[in-house]
Symmetry: C2
Subunit: 530 residues, 2 copies
């Protein structure tokens, strides 16, 4: 009998001594209870460390941390991830630490360099399997992307591995958890190995690692699944390489997965940046209502403050609905009219603008007055400002730079408008946290009299349909038209997406939840004649 | 005798039909004058096309453009760059187009995936030399990074190449032009080939390609150098593979190189984004003074507008100096006090802030009132707003998000403060375009009474010294202290650099001129415990 522990940890990128302490604490706590502890990919640096990897000080800190971990690993085997330079070349490594030394090292073979990943920027690929014996079982080691390819698994199996320990930092997107398990189960059955899949958990800038570590047997059957979205430590008993069945956490449905991703991503971004509270503008619309719910679930109502900022164009019910939701959620709420500042700017510019018609300029001034107020409260109270825009708006530039786009973090940045509605309903499943009228009202930016989103944009069913094909699936306008959308609309919407890259480049980070998010995931030129 | 033309073009990223037209026009114009025309790397897409390469429509447009080019290439050989999928894999290709067909294709072997480059994200490396005969000479083909390595050059030489045609998109940084020539000359002499080095010219987002195409003979001696910072078309006569000496443009000194890079980068960013004019805040300080000079040199005084925006803290001489420079440069200039809006915000927030002391919040409100005014003028008149901050400020976060950081483009983003002074003096070499007092005054943000930059920052000699070591050379704080800087200052400055990644992430793009610029060149996590 061999006992393997899955250490699904929430680590801190760059904090090598702190992450090493987490490893050592875990090893000490599991001493006598587990034979092997498996940690996530790049345990010591967190993931993704990006260009911190290029600092020579990073290598020195990893070396020093490894020394401490080795000294702590008496009577227990640790499989720990870290970057290291070997023979003049940097590798993404999983080290087997046993009896006070780093006994052997596996070098990741498959280096993802697509989507949000840049591993070829930092690492060279390895090309050898690593198998070690513990008790009567042969354990192979692979890292994350390796298991999506045949070669690394095949080599480990050929080298005698009965159980594959796979260290991961696999970020969330919709349906990813199910994809992972299906793929790993298939790989296990094809190469006749059990697989211990240990994932990272927690938010890091644009990414959320959703946890859900699991074990499949050599028939591809799930023997264990850890919780999603939280740290966990589970012990799996292997008899001759065959895992005994343990807890199998349920799969949350997709809306719940997304909502909990947004909560975890927001909490970690705020706290890991040294803040404990946030402020946001509450307009009475659906986007800020959902953002408020997420913020409260992430940080607690005592750490969230909202501000309603009406103008001459704000409907009375907007203020009522905002107040009602703030009261229901128990957050501090105030109302500050933007009219004095708005009037001051119009007056200051009256000579410069004399003879011109009101246009988008005056709308932007209103949004920017709100941005100034919110940033002033953020600055004065040390609360991070959350922006409330969604992916549909970010795609077509239906947002004001330095206005409603001002803020440190954008929880809904990758959430299309229709999904905003679904998530609001999901959040209201037990009680009406978000007033029903907020969900039912036609959306409006309220920047001029009787404005509706549909004055400038197609209805959201059409808009989100076009955007999914263009942004997430790289379809051409002709293909989108062939899929049944109106030619003029498709040309207008795709043109807006192309044109507004400059706005997105100055947007705050937000959480990736789709297959293609804006940010590191989608790297478009601003100047483009495509 | 074989005549090779170097087509140093300013292309438009993504505009495949437009770039193909440039190729065809060039071919037609040189018909009967040249035997071979060599174009820059990825001629048809421009460089870098980034994720446009992942759109299937990109491949289709390249195919169609190649067909048109082939039909136009009668009686002349064209060596053109483009991306293409061959056998299911995408390569960075140089095609030899002759007698109406794409006769052969070279696949780039060395794919840079560091600094600003992401070529492993898009391409697989090739592994075969390509040599073709024209007249009595054997021509080899390589692409950009290839020539920085032995293998591709060695293989071309081994395959019989007498002259190597190297297609480039080599971006500017200080001293890069000299580095390039030294390296290529060395390579030519070692492998006994002449080299025709054709570079791209023009600005693309953060990058400027500086041109300066050149030819070296097989002894490494420069036979020709094209102009820097502008399009050029030069004809080189080869006798049995030996180039005849032609025009050798002078090397501008480094300050001139940087200044002209900033002018070209600003002009191309503004115009290629469909603008023809800019607006900027002119404070009476050195940064906005230099930015104004660059804008005028890039776009002409009739396309530049400046605004002075004094507050209660603005010295009278600031307004005088701003007016004087605006008059000297012949740009439209106006003064709008920010006091009415600033007072309105203080009043609107008086209840919320009651019992608190004035702090950075009130300073930021002033900077943001200026941001709103400038963006309003930008919106109303369709002029792009230029921000005026420099690299020293961007590094330590001595700038206000949505305030002085608001704008579409930041010409000085990668220019350290001491270099701002040098460039201002260089620009004044013939006549005092920038008033001498602007250069001589101690720098101040003028956001509170009697404020000086040195209240918050070390003197710029010290600051820039620390920043160069930390940001550009990846030295650790201990190493910087060992280099002679005060420990407390080093810790404070490096801490500010780390802490302010969130501000830089929302900064507008600017022009890379150092070895390591902020932007695609330096990818740091925001959340970091390093």
């Amino acid at each position: 009998m061999t006992i393997v522990a899955l250490a699904q940890l929430n680590l801190m990128v760059g904090d090598i001594p702190g992450n090493a302490r987490r490893v050592i604490d875990t090893a000490r706590r599991l001493h006598g209870k587990a034979d092997i502890v498996v940690f996530p990919e790049l345990t010591l640096t967190g993931y993704p460390p990006e260009d911190l990897l290029l600092r020579p000080a990073c290598d020195a800190r990893v070396d020093s941390a490894l020394g401490e971990i080795a000294r702590a690993a008496e009577g227990i085997t640790l499989v720990v991830g870290y970057p290291a330079v070997r023979d003049g070349v940097r590798y993404n490594i999983a080290g087997v630490v046993r009896d006070g030394v780093v006994e052997s090292e596996y070098r990741k073979m498959e280096l993802p360099n697509y989507s949000v990943f840049d591993e070829r920027r930092y690492f060279e690929p390895g090309d050898s399997a690593l198998v070690f014996r513990q008790g009567s079982v042969e354990f192979g080691v692979t890292i994350c992307e390796d298991i999506w390819f045949d070669k690394p698994v095949q080599r480990a199996a050929a080298a005698g591995a009965q159980v594959l320990l796979n260290l991961n930092a696999s970020p969330f997107h919709q349906d990813k958890a199910a994809e992972r398990e299906t793929l790993v189960a298939d790989r296990a059955a094809r190469f006749n190995v059990s697989v211990v899949y240990v994932n990272l958990v927690g938010g890091q800038d644009e990414l959320v690692f959703d946890g859900g570590s699991f074990v499949v047997d050599a028939n591809g059957k799930v023997a264990h699944r850890a919780a999603f979205f939280e740290e966990s430590e589970s012990l799996l008993v292997f008899h001759d390489g065959v895992p005994c069945v343990a807890d199998i956490a349920r799969f949350p449905d997709v809306d719940e997965q997304v909502y909990r991703t947004l909560v975890l991503g927001t909490r970690d971004y705020v706290r890991k940046n040294g803040f404990d509270s946030v402020v946001l503008g509450l307009s009475g619309g659906i986007d800020s209502a959902l953002t408020l719910a997420i913020a409260v679930d992430a940080l607690g109502p005592e750490n969230v403050e909202t501000v309603a900022m009406p103008s001459r164009y704000t409907a009375q019910i907007s203020g009522q609905d905002a107040l009602q939701q703030a009261q229901r959620m128990g957050v501090r709420h105030q109302t500050i009219s933007i009219e004095p500042a708005f009037r001051a700017f119009l007056e200051m510019l009256s000579e410069t603008f004399s003879g011109t018609e009101a246009d988008i300029t005056e709308e932007n001034i209103q949004a920017r007055c709100r941005g100034i107020l919110l940033m002033a409260i953020s600055n004065k109270r040390g609360r991070m400002l959350l922006t409330t825009g969604n992916k549909s708006e970010m795609s077509v530039g239906y947002a004001t730079l330095y206005g409603d786009m001002a803020g440190g973090f954008a929880p809904l940045k990758d959430v299309p408008k229709l999904l905003v509605y679904r998530l609001a309903r999901w959040r209201n499943r037990d009680s009406e946290a978000i007033p029903k009228r907020v969900i039912d009202r036609p959306p409006s930016a309220e920047l001029r009299a009787d404005q509706k989103d549909t004055d400038s944009l197609p209805d959201y069913e059409t808009l989100d349909g076009i955007l999914a094909l263009y942004v997430e699936q790289d379809r051409s306008p002709d293909e989108i038209i062939a899929a049944g959308f109106n030619r003029a609309l498709v040309e207008r919407v795709t043109g807006m997406v192309d044109h507004n890259e400059y706005k997105r480049r100055q947007a705050p980070p937000g959480i990736k939840i789709t297959r293609r998010a804006y940010g590191r995931d989608r790297r478009y030129p601003i100047v483009s004649g495509f």
